[in-house]
Amino acid sequence: MKFITLPDTTPLISLRVVFQTGASQDPPNQGGVAWMTAMMLAGGGSRTLTYKQILDAFFPMGLSVGCQVDKELITFTAEVHADHLEEFYEIFRGMLLDPGWRADDFARLTDDAVNMLEVELRGQNDEELAKEILYQRIYQGHPYERHDAGTVSSLQALALDQLKAFYLAEFASSNLIIAIGGGYPDGFEQRLRKDFSALPLRARAGVEIPPAPPVAETELYLLEKPARGVAISLGFPIEVRRGHPDYPALLLATSALGQHRMSSGRLFTRMRQYRGLNYGDYAYIEYFPGGMYTLQPSPNHARANDIFQLWIRPVDREQSLFALRLALHELESFVTGGLSQDEFQRARSFLSKYVNLLLKTKSEELGYAVDSAYYGIPAYPDYVRAGLSQLTLEEVNAAIRRHLRYDRLRIVAVGEGMQDFKDAILENRVSSMTYNSPKPEEILEEDKVVERRPILVLPGSIVIAGADAAFA
């Protein structure tokens, strides 16, 4: 058990209880068991209190227990006012250490997980769908392959006993990190230590996380569903993660290419600002779920493996092939040409300051500290700033060439008319752009190159699937 403490004198107390286990540890044929186990703790009753009793107790305190399941970490969070710490903690302890395992909670939470996959992700959020399917295509045959919540059929096949067994095996004191901050009283930390020591030591060896399988050739995976726009995500695995010597360089590079939800990146400027193709275009080197709802990533998605990816927000169907070609064109010029001195300096200045804003709240500060413990690095802002301060433009461009590429990609598109999209790619059909306003000569000239850019892919490597296939 590790402890991270960030005490202060405010009346608010933040708590993060993080187990170093997750969806990658689901036993064979039990997809979603880690997810469901965590949900049963956070969204079900304890042995002594029903879920309803817990909701009623928390309600006047204005609080709830958050839960996040990722490949290698399961995180429970709560923010509580000092007025209620005692009352809250008694309940919270019961939820995590003495769960109720009631069948009616299990039925309700299974429905929730199925609806999250089937109704929300598959049905309503084409952008997130394209991203999640991209992970599945990249991690085929790997412990990261399945969605964290499993599939509709695997969820429906789970039994409560499997959750209990997972809890006993994986929710161990030996893979636990507890992070606490704010104005908690003396002795509270000791109490947590004592209570959570009651969990057993981890008895089984965890599933090893191997490197991602290499991508030998470009693959397009096209999900057909009715929609006004086509959502596109593309990427490939990288070996760089926090702690890797090239992490700061690649962080800087992807910030210049497409800082999340900022209008400064190259992709945003050239695809949206100049051409009005869509609402935004961004680049990532770390998992960032729910990017359409939040400006900053939530912590505790730390992973042994990660991917480089581009997020192309929904594009009008007629312009979707052009948009994909333009994204690949930009990626090529980024990889081969690197950053300019000016881009380098601006991105470095940006990140050196912006990194402070990621840790605005006590809860975020604790979350980043947990991730730093996972990666074995100093406090994240210090780590990033120190790394950035020593970088040169040449080193960043060398890191781009070392780790990034514009071929051997996994590409996922979600939308309508996928057969035509496929045919157009295989026939290398020209995808001319027309605009509603005059454009500078430079843009029009570039368009002539982009509109006929070949996407080198074998016919067998373009797969069309119905959206119903996702997470089935």
Partner: protein, 426 residues
């Protein structure tokens, strides 16, 4: 905590001769400053036919440059300051917000002052931006709740601009590229000091901020436009609409009633806020019945969203199977009726009041959260004091008042029900 002012921060509120208001909140979070620029114009102000969605579109245009700061230069400065910056528009407001380290605050303040006073974008940039807005509509169009709200408003309102969503009707969005001249009119009307409040929260000295704002915003000229959306006539009979949805979904149900405008003086709205929690929050009997016991519903909420003019009290349920929709609908209506028929238990009412206070206190845990919360209220009453007045009203709400208010606002004639389901199922 129960007796203290809910918005407990000392703040400095200052009016400039041109009508601009500045609210500075020193907060105990070192190094960081949040600037929220609140313009009291949103889709409510789109009073002319065919202009729905324009306030939101205009928010996009604010990033299209001035002579001193063309878009590339604006972006370069923002980037060098490491700022987290964005903007949003809703019914009653457009808000431009930036959070950054304090050393760069005045640079940002000056640059923002420049674009609010000297915005000047070319026709080409305007027309290109109209496409990005269409892209935004396209990305949102996959979510049923967006369509539900679009149809609910269109059905429930006849005259007031709340008839359309902030995003606007698709037909108007598609015509935006032709509205360049109108965009200049829109800027001229609403991007004026008397419509604008600056909120600065964080590691700052109020006196210094006052002087900085005077330096950069003092010369901004007051305007003269007064916006008066049409008054919505009383609804005379219940209304319904159904949306057939092209892809797999669970059925959705919205039950809405016309409700009063935001007020920090009259208790009606405060009472409806409390009913939304008593009746439909996770701790409500209906949630227990539908979500926990019967498990016929997986999402349930109600909202009496604060608005400048009378809006809607809305209950939303996502139902697990199509045939269950009529029963769920009846349960919701019975719950609403119940508030008029039977006084609620004092202890339950006290729980909601406690919930509201602690939820509010827990949310103010950083400078950005303080500024962002204030932005909402400031666009309604232009002062943080309205929060304290509102929470004072919550304290005044009694079981008897809840009955009176429920009886008045949950009348069938003020009701609109919208359903959405895959295919034609209702």
């Amino acid at each position: 905590m129960a007796d203290a002012k809910i918005f407990a921060y000392d703040y400095d509120q200052h009016d400039y001769p041109n009508g601009l208001r500045l609210i500075t909140v020193p907060a105990p979070y070192p190094q960081v400053v949040s600037l929220y620029i609140v313009v009291q114009a949103g889709s409510r102000n789109e009073v002319e036919e065919g202009r729905s969605g324009f306030a939101h579109f205009f928010e996009h245009m604010m990033f299209r440059g001035t002579p001193a700061f063309p878009p590339e230069r604006y972006e370069a400065v923002l980037q060098e300051t490491g700022a987290s910056s964005n903007a949003y528009t809703d019914d009653d407001r457009t808000v431009y917000h930036t959070t950054l380290t304090k050393e760069d605050f005045e640079t940002l303040l000056a640059m923002e002052a420049d674009r609010f006073q000297h915005l000047d974008y070319p026709l080409e940039g305007f027309q290109t931006e109209a496409l990005a807005v269409l892209g935004e509509y396209n990305k949102d169009s996959t979510e049923p709740i967006n369509k539900l709200m679009e149809v609910l408003r269109d059905t429930a309102f006849d005259a007031h601009t709340y008839k359309h969503t902030t995003m606007g009707f698709l037909r108007d969005i598609e015509r935006m590229p032709q509205m360049y001249d109108y965009s200049r009119t829109f800027f001229d009307r609403f991007y004026r000091p008397e419509y604008t409040t600056l909120i600065v929260a964080g590691d700052v000295d109020p006196a210094e901020v006052r002087a900085q704002v005077e330096r950069h915003w003092g010369a901004w000229q007051r305007g003269s436009y007064i916006c008066a959306p049409a008054v919505e006539p009383a609804q005379s009979s219940p209304r319904e609409a159904h949306i057939p949805w092209p892809t797999h979904t669970l059925p959705y149900l919205l039950v809405a009633h016309h409700s009063p405008a935001y007020s920090d003086e009259i208790t009606d709205g405060a009472a409806l806020d409390i009913i939304s929690f008593l009746g439909f929050s996770e701790s409500s009997p209906l949630y227990e019945k539908l979500v926990i016991e019967d498990q016929s519903v997986d999402l349930l909420w109600a909202s009496n969203a604060d608005h400048v003019d009378p809006y809607l009290f809305t209950v939303m349920a996502r139902v697990k199977e199509d045939p269950m929709v009529p029963d769920v609908r009846e349960s919701i209506l019975a719950t609403l009726r119940g508030f008029a028929e039977t006084p609620v238990d004092d202890s339950l009412l006290a729980n909601v009041k406690s919930h509201l206070r602690y939820r509010f206190a827990l949310s103010l845990d950083n400078s950005e959260a303080i500024a962002s919360t204030l932005a909402h209220y400031v666009s309604l009453r232009r002062t943080p004091e309205t929060i304290n007045r509102l929470f004072y009203l919550y304290e005044q709400v009694t079981p008897q008042l809840l009955q009176t208010v429920a009886a008045r606002f949950f009348q069938p004639n003020g009701r609109t029900i919208v359903t959405l389901a895959n295919g034609d199922a209702k």
